[in-house]
Symmetry: C2
Subunit: 127 residues, 2 copies
DNA sequence: TAAAATAACAGTAACAATTACTATTATTTA
DNA sequence: TAAATAATAGTAATTGTTACTGTTATTTTA
C-alpha cells in the first residue's frame, strides 16, 4: 500500500523540473529548491526525483558524464550532449523508431526500444 | 613521455576482454583475472582498463545500469541490453549513421555522432 | 650482463554520487 | 481533533572509481 502523500518539497521539485529545459542533476535541483526551502535535504531531492521517475512524471537521463540528469518533459524526444561545454539540449526531430526494425532484423530476441544520445558541439561552442 | 611498458597484468586483462563477448564490468574482469594473478589489485584493473580504452584497444560501454562495461571488440557496432536478465549482447546490424543527418536537420550546432543502446528481451528471456 | 632509471604494481585511502537509517514533522483519515 | 503513518531533515553508509605510496618489474645503457 503505502499511499503517496502530498508534500510541498516534492511539488517544488516537480515544478522546478517543468520550468527548466536544462536537464539538471540532483545537485542542481537541490541548489535551486534551497532558495525556497532552505532546510531541504539532498536525500529528499534524490528520493523525490526517483519517485517522480517511477510515477512517470519525470525522465532520468544518462548524458554520458556519469551523473544522473532529470527532465520534466516526459514526451518522447531525443537529447544532445555538447562535448565543449557539457550542456544537454533537446533535439527537435522526428522519432526514429525504424531503427528498432533494423536492429531486430538479425536478432532472435525482442527489441522493445532504444536509448539514443547525440553528441557534438552546441550552437555556442560551434563558433 | 611516460612510455607504456609491457605488463603481464595488462596483457591478461586485454586477453580476457578479447576472449569474451559478455561486456564485463571492471569487477567481473577483476574476478576472472584473479584466477591467474591471485594478487592483482582492483585498482590495477581499473587503471589498465582506462589505459586500454585510451589506446583504442577497448571500448567503454554505458549499458544503463550505472556501471561501466568494457568490450575488447573495438569495431563500431551496436549493443542490446536485456531487461530480463541484464545481459548485454552485440547486435549484428548495419550502421545507422543516417540518424545524425535527421538529428542535425533542425539543429544549429554540429552533430558528431551518436550513442545508441537497444533494449528489450534477449532470446532466452523472450521464451 | 649488471646496475640505474622509471613505469607498473599491490594495497589502501580518498572521493563523489547515491541510498539507507532514524528520530521528528506533516498530511491524511476517521 | 486525534490517531495513523508517509515524508522530512540530517546524517551515516554504500558503491563505483580514482589517487597515493612504498615496492616490484621492465627497460635502457654502460
Amino acid at each position: 500500500m503505502a499511499a503517496i502523500r502530498y508534500s510541498k518539497q516534492r511539488e517544488a521539485i516537480r515544478m522546478y523540473l517543468l520550468s527548466t529545459k536544462s536537464h539538471p542533476t540532483a545537485e542542481v535541483v537541490y541548489n535551486n529548491i534551497k532558495n525556497e526551502y532552505t532546510r531541504i535535504s539532498l536525500g529528499t531531492v534524490y528520493r523525490n526525483l526517483n519517485l517522480l521517475v517511477e510515477q512517470g512524471e519525470a525522465l532520468r537521463l544518462d548524458c554520458g558524464d556519469g551523473v544522473d540528469h532529470f527532465d520534466g518533459d516526459t514526451r518522447p524526444h531525443y537529447h544532445f550532449a555538447c562535448q565543449g561545454c557539457g550542456c544537454v539540449m533537446d533535439l527537435d526531430m522526428d522519432p526514429i523508431d525504424h531503427i528498432d526494425q533494423i536492429a531486430g532484423a538479425g536478432f532472435d530476441g525482442e527489441i522493445q526500444g532504444h536509448r539514443v544520445l547525440f553528441y557534438g558541439l552546441c550552437p555556442n561552442c560551434k563558433k
